[in-house]
Amino acid sequence: MYPPSFEYIRPGTISEAVALLGQYGDDAKILSGGQSLIPMMKLRIARPAWLIDIGRIPGLAHIKEEGGYLKIGGLVREADLETSDLIRSKFPIIHDTARVIADPLVRNLATVGGNLAHGDPANDHPATMLALEAKAVATGPRGEREIPITDFFVSFFTTALAHDEILTEIRIPIPPPRSAGAYFKLERKVGDFATAAVAIQLTLNEDGTCKRAGIGLTNVGPTPLKARQAEDFLRGKKLDAPTIDQAAQLAADAADPSSDLRGPAEYKKGLVKEFVRRGLRRAMERAEGRK
């Protein structure tokens, strides 16, 4: 409710911010949307000595297609993703995801970068980015480096970002024709973390068989998960009911949830299974331009 004291710095550029991280080390935390960090500070379970506010740094709030990638700046607010025509028309999976993150008020401050860099397996973007096989751009003292999202989520609340690196951009390969995705989430109420959620990104061959499937899972393990076996299994297959069911089962097997107030582990695995089914159907419809 009443956060502990800290010093506040608002650098004008990313390089300044990075330098400050180097200077203050572990006692410093990056403040972007603050919608995860500030609640933890109010409960006093997080107590950084220095807050480095990157919220106003220019040039990090873009949503654009460039060089075969959809590029989303680290400071793009969830609300902007939700209302972006580019996203709605070309990346329905991201639109699906953005609109179920927290609540409309939180989405006005929460940033995509923060949602990923927090490393919380309960956050929604990680699964979606895993499905899309995005790349995270980390800016540090030695400049930029691209981290494949598949290497980004290291362990519970731990990402591949070095302490003095900042997530400045997400790069999503622009999918070929006959591609689409969907995000299915069950939450106990609006604003809650997912009990379980599934992100599906699909590319179909001309004959309607599966060319590529990306499947990401939310809040069913210590890290966001990629259901690789299910993805591999689907490649080249016709997406009929039995195939979809088998893929769903493989994804459920990949989930490693723990039981909590949101439900027993068995239920969460069941949700993964059901949402993979629904996600594949929805993605297929969208890819075929039926929805």
């Binding site: 009443y2 069950l186 106990r188 109420k189 809650d192 009990t195 239920y267 069941g270 059901e274």
Partner: protein, 784 residues
């Protein structure tokens, strides 16, 4: 039905827009946290992280060294003033600040006072408290085990048992059950939940050392009762205490008890001679202030093959937490739980309740209900559905068959209540028609063939509200009457003051309508005041839907006293005898000569200017009304749900609520109350739960995990009404605030169970979550 006044007068039955809105929509409401006084300082409560522990030491040195810290009060300090414990509203006592041990997680241990809230929070972290953890007891069923740790050593009793209470004819009931061709039994837990009004509890205590006078701004549903308790507990002369209950951000029972934070703020102000504000956080509110329910119930019905119910047996284990702080003023340990025979004509019934202590927060308050009525209504409505399933008959028909017939009112229930009035079939039939019951059952049949799951749930509840009567209800001996004082100004305008306190019910709008009805003075000409103990007449407050049944009666009678005097003045002005006068709202006129009339305004002016010889000046009256009986609102609710087989999600497709609360003062406000109560019922049925793990850690102790519905989870409500006035109430009203919360949980749960009944499902405990439904579907092989 009563006479309908003109819209200009705006008496009963008019949907007048609310007066209080003007300030609330402009951010000019005045809630306790908005009180700002010169030199005001802030309190912060230090709470136990342990559910059961010996308190070994408290070291405040480091905290006291922090700049801006003024005091750290401990249980030891309070003990010196004999304030370490305080009485609860139900024959128990409760620790204000722990002295030797703590009994629940988040129990109050020390109180830090500092110049600002941030500093107080910093200081709280510097207070070093040493505990020795003790074995934790969270399961009420284990509370009476021989090996169970004894929690309340202070009582000097070797048991965690608080009370055993029983009512009814045990032998006859058991005999009927044994001989019954059909028996239906249900074990149901009404889970621990919390009212969670959007404004938490808090106060500003301002002691004036020179005048030796204490003013307390308090989130209080019962300011007068609280003033008297402060006087008794704190030893301050009652004339030197002023309790002001300003705008209240919702109460729902949460703001009836006195909490340790209030006492600490008062003590701090007495010690420092400065105003002390204490506002609890949401987590503190959910974890330490009055919880509701936690009733572990078994009901068994005996019936004939044709479905006629004969007897009802109810056995209940009541978990009261660490202290019996049940905020209920009845003479019965389980409050009005014995209304559990509900709307049905049982020849015999027996009801027994045992209360136990556990390492959980104290409370047992009436969450938007009258002292355990919700538990009772839920139990009987669930049990009737189980009986219908046993008999394979339609739950609506079963209810219609067993309703107390309209001609049997006033009805004496086998457990001793005297129901004032009711027409249960009328409400039921209206609801069935509104929802299109027959078609729904057809649709359900079709859907089941296709393997789809939909359910229809019915709840035909009977409420019992309006405590008084004083012979059955009191707070520390004070009879539960309520009061109204009306003063008519010379210009015919008026001010009325009541002993109740609105928390959103719109008293500033509705009570003037009663006066307008009785005197014909436009409601808009009447100011209403509540919540200031220096100005309002003594009353017991607003909860248990008692404002209209009790204070509403006082208001009508006070107005009638004024009308009686007005009649004398009118006779004097018109130079006729009182017997020659006729009344119509707003004026007295001479029989047969309607033009010869005096308006209430003319009479009011005369009351100060031109009185009959020997009559004292002024036109005012006060009434303290102790109702002869409770009132018994009722209704039928029908809920339609669709279930997602893949996820277990439950969608409330439709919800029809037909309420009968007797004569209605303001239909708009009544409908608003019903919308709100249904939404809280929805939360209780599907989402709201405060549970504890084996170490006594609160689960659901903040708004991330204590789930209250948003607009998205909340369906569109369909409301309807019938009107069966209360025969004993001055304006035939019954009170409505609680009905939707009391009646709806059973409708929701019955709907879900109905959707699964063909699979053999008979009961699911609340909150009915998607994962519970999914697990059942999984067991039954419906989902994979």
């Amino acid at each position: 039905m009563m006479h309908q006044t003109s819209p200009e007068i705006g008496g009963m039955g008019h949907s007048i827009k609310r007066k209080e809105d003007a300030r609330l929509i402009q951010g000019k409401g005045h809630y306790v946290d908005d009180v700002h006084l010169p030199r005001m300082v802030h309190g912060h409560m230090i709470r136990s992280p342990y559910a059961h522990a010996r308190l070994k030491s408290i070291n405040i040195e480091a905290a006291m060294k922090l700049p801006g810290v003024l005091a750290v009060i401990t249980g030891a300090d309070l003990a010196k003033a004999n304030l370490a414990w305080m009485p609860t509203l139900f024959h128990d006592k409760q620790m204000v600040l722990a002295t030797d041990k703590v009994l629940f997680q988040a129990q109050e241990v020390a109180f830090v006072v500092a110049e600002d809230r941030y500093t107080a929070a910093d200081a709280a972290e510097l207070v070093a408290v040493e505990y020795e953890e003790l074995p934790v007891l969270v399961d009420p069923h284990k509370a009476l085990d021989p090996g169970a740790p004894i929690l309340r050593e202070d009582r000097g009793e070797k048991t965690n048992h608080i009370f055993h209470w029983e009512v009814g004819d045990e032998q006859a009931t058991q005999k009927t059950l044994q001989d019954a061709p059909v028996r239906a039994k249900v074990d149901a837990v009404f889970q621990r939940c919390h009212p969670a009004p959007l404004e938490t509890c808090g106060c500003v205590a301002d002691y004036d050392p020179i005048m030796k006078h204490l003013t307390v701004w308090l989130t209080s549903q019962a300011p007068h009762a609280h003033r008297t308790l402060f006087a008794i507990v704190g030893g301050i002369p009652e004339q030197n205490i002023r309790v002001i209950s300003p705008d209240i951000g919702g109460g729902f029972g949460n703001k009836v008890p006195i909490y340790p934070g209030y006492v600490c703020a008062v003590v701090a102000s007495l010690t420092l001679g400065r105003p002390v504000k204490w506002i609890e956080t949401r987590s503190e509110n959910l974890q330490s202030t009055g919880f509701a329910r936690d009733y572990h119930m078994t009901a068994e019905i005996a019936a004939d093959k044709d479905g006629t119910v004969k007897a009802l047996s109810v056995k209940t284990l009541a978990d009261h937490g660490a202290f019996n702080a049940a905020a209920q003023p009845s003479k019965f340990p389980a409050g009005l739980f014995s209304i559990c025979t509900g709307s049905y004509d049982f020849a015999n019934s027996f009801c027994e309740v045992d209360g136990v202590y556990t390492n959980k927060a104290p409370g047992g308050i009436a969450y938007r209900c009258s002292f355990r009525v919700t538990e009772a209504a839920y139990l009987i409505e669930r049990a009737m559905d189980v009986l219908a399933m046993e008999l394979k008959t339609d739950p609506a028909e079963l209810r219609l068959k067993n309703f107390i017939p309209p001609d049997k009112f006033p009805y004496k229930s086998p457990l001793g209540w005297s129901y004032d009035s009711g027409d249960y079939p009328a409400a039921m039939n209206k609801a069935l028609e509104m929802v299109g019951y027959r078609e729904l059952r057809k649709e359900q049949e079709e859907k089941r063939k296709k393997g789809e799951l939909m359910g229809v749930g019915i709840s035909s509840f009977t409420e019992i509200v309006g405590a008084g009567p004083g012979h059955t209800f009191d707070i520390v001996g004070i009879k539960m009457f309520d009061s109204c004082e009306i003063r008519i100004h010379p210009t015919g305008k008026a001010i009325a003051r009541l002993g109740t306190k609105s928390q959103g019910q719109g008293h500033e709008t509705t009570f003037p309508q009663i006066i307008a009805q009785e005197l014909g003075i436009p409601a808009s000409d009447i100011t209403l005041e509540e919540g200031d103990t220096d100005t309002a007449p003594y009353g017991l407050g607003t909860y248990a839907s008692r404002s209209t049944p009790v204070a509403g009666g006082a208001t009508a009678i006070a107005a009638r006293k004024i009308r009686d005097k007005a009649k004398k003045i009118a006779a004097h002005l018109l130079e006729v005898s009182e017997a020659d006068l006729e009344w119509e709202p707003g004026k007295f006129y001479v029989k047969g000569a309607p033009s010869k009339a005096k308006t209430i305004q003319e009479i009011a002016f005369a009351a100060y200017t031109n009185l009959p010889p020997g009559m004292e000046a002024g036109l005012e009256a006060v009434d303290y009304y102790d109702p002869p009986n409770l009132t018994f609102p009722f209704g039928t609710y029908i809920c339609v749900v669709d279930i997602d087989k893949g996820t277990g999600e439950i969608r409330v497709r439709r919800f029809v609520a037909v309420d009968d609360c007797g004569n209605i003062i303001n239909p708009m406000i009544v409908e608003g109350q019903i919308h709100g109560g249904l939404t809280e019922g929805l939360g209780i049925a599907f989402m709201q739960l405060i549970s504890y793990d084996e170490n006594g850690n609160v689960q659901g102790g903040n708004f991330m995990d204590y789930l209250v519905p948003t607009a998205v989870e909340t369906p569109h409500w369909e409301t309807g009404k019938t009107c069966t006035p209360s025969p004993h109430h001055p304006i035939g009203a019954k009170g409505v605030g609680e009905s939707p919360n009391v009646g709806s949980p059973a409708a929701f749960v019955n709907a879900v169970v109905d959707a699964l009944s063909h699979l053999g499902v008979r009961h699911i405990d609340m909150p009915v979550t998607p994962w519970k439904v999914w697990q059942i579907l999984k067991e039954k092989g419906i989902t994979s």
